[in-house]
């Protein structure tokens, strides 16, 4: 089987170094780029993200990658958004004001209801049957965020909760998957899930 090629989108807002190495550990070829030509040649696009919403969406706009991602999502290109990368898929975010997102997921990113930040390991529970998540459903994953989708309607795959207040941990729109947690930093369970998602998106 040919090695799948993952395009890591470089927009100055992500932990690219770790992702590239960890995707290689999983057996994928990995390219870091902001060039549409190079990204077009990849089987999966991965939008990472560590940081605040407003500067991140601005960086995507500066590199003219915002419309590119919207178009690719429409064309059913497999896309994975991780953490802030998942939030950028939203219609808008309320982080430090109101900022428009890519609008691929027609819901809003809001502040977490009880905690100012959710940093650490938490379990997820499926809210819709999704083959990619079945094996790792009861595992713990690493979260590091202050904002989240509190609701994503029919797009939700699974939720997580902090002291009874839940939020969306993963969502899907056609071939676009968003993960609020960091699978690449969630040890065995996270790495296994990341591999499963990438393979399912491309091969199914």
């Amino acid at each position: 089987m040919k090695r799948l090629k993952v395009g890591l989108i470089d927009y100055n807002s992500g932990n690219l170094g770790t992702l590239k190495t960890n995707l290689s550990v999983l057996g994928f070829r990995c390219l870091i780029s902001d060039s549409k030509e190079i990204l077009n040649g990849c089987d999966v696009l991965l939008l990472p993200g560590v940081g605040a919403f407003a500067p991140a969406i601005l960086e995507l706009q500066k590199k003219k990658l915002d419309q590119y991602l919207i178009d690719e999502a429409d064309r059913n290109k497999p896309i994975i958004g991780i953490c802030l990368g998942m939030q950028l898929l939203a219609k808008a975010s309320m982080e430090n004001g109101h900022h428009l997102g890519l609008g691929i997921i027609p819901y809003i990113v809001e502040s977490l209801p009880t905690f100012s930040s959710h940093i650490g390991w938490n379990s997820i529970s499926l809210s819709a049957p999704d083959q990619s998540f079945l094996e790792t459903e009861n595992s713990d994953f690493f979260f590091n965020h202050s904002y989240a989708y509190l609701n994503a309607g029919r797009f939700e795959i699974c939720r997580s909760n902090i002291e009874g207040n839940s939020f969306v941990a993963a969502l899907r729109y056609r071939n676009v998957i968003g993960l609020q947690f960091h699978p690449e930093k969630s040890q065995k369970a996270g790495m296994a899930l990341l591999k499963q998602i990438i393979e399912d998106l491309v091969l199914v």
Binding site: N15, G17, T21, W121, H145, Q187, M191
Partner: protein, 264 residues
């Protein structure tokens, strides 16, 4: 279930992992990259790497060390500190593979720069390191560059209140490097209401961990070099604690690196 965190701390001086004893004496341990690989394999919840000499030598963050760490494919969250004194440093550290940064001297020197960094990378990505001690019944903040003691400043309290910092790493610097002597009075005298706290320094014994985790606002604890000296230290901590509190212990083998079959 949201778990408390068991953080493995690697203190680095002159690019070598060291055992720091009360911020005065430093015993070499070895290559910090190998220590980080061990902590990753043993399943700590987070690895915190702090280079303690970068600020005093005005060297900036040790990006070379961070690159080496990232090249190892660690799948444990990484927090990186030492020498970060501007937004560009913080962005570089995140881009090279750390999820979070740890700041200490910058809190004293330039609270406005901390705000700027927080606005860019998000408060969840910044932890404040506060070496403290109890003296004459009062909590004192230690300035390890100037070697002076003083109260936690209003500017730092305001950074917490303003939501620019996510957590406080409270280091008992007197008991740093000791066996199980973390001073619990520090936590009860901390005037940072509702701020998530990670105690570190002299935490080696299970009884101490149990007491600490029972205190208010404690979201985890840090353990340093003692993890390297005890077989299965990480797993033993986990097995003694309630599974609803910490993640369950994991024992790795070479087969774990075959991600075609999960769970292994």
């Amino acid at each position: 279930m949201f778990k408390k965190r068991f953080i493995g701390v690697i203190t680095v001086k002159d690019r070598l992992a060291v055992q720091s004893i009360a911020f005065k004496k430093y015993l070499p341990i070895g290559d910090p990259v190998i220590l980080a690989e061990n902590l990753d394999r043993w399943g700590v919840d987070e690895i915190l790497v702090i280079s303690i000499d970068r600020t005093s030598k005005n060297l900036g963050p040790d990006l070379n060390l961070l690159e080496n760490l990232s090249s190892k494919g660690l799948s444990t969250p990484l927090t990186f500190g030492g020498g970060i004194n501007c937004l560009e440093h913080a962005i570089a550290v995140i881009k090279l593979g750390a999820e979070r940064i740890c700041v200490d001297s910058l809190l004293k020197r330039s609270p406005d720069v901390v705000k700027k960094i927080s606005n860019h990378i998000g408060a969840q990505a910044i932890i404040a390191s506060l070496p403290v001690c109890m003296k004459d019944g009062e909590l004192n903040w230690y300035n390890h560059v100037q070697k002076t003691l003083g109260p936690i400043t209003k500017a730092v309290t305001e950074l917490f209140k303003g939501g620019y910092l996510s957590e406080a790493l409270i280091i008992d610097y007197h008991n740093d490097g000791s066996s199980g002597d973390f001073n619990l009075d520090i936590l009860s005298n901390l005037s940072l209401p509702n701020i998530p706290v990670v105690p570190f320094g002299g935490i080696t014994e299970m009884e101490k961990v149990l007491k600490i985790l029972g205190m208010q606002n404690i979201i985890g604890f840090g353990v340093g070099n003692s993890l390297s000296y005890t077989e299965h230290a990480v797993q033993k901590f986990r097995e003694r604690l309630d599974q609803n509190c910490l993640r369950v212990a994991q024992y790795s083998s070479m087969n774990d690196y075959n991600y075609d079959s999960f769970p292994s």
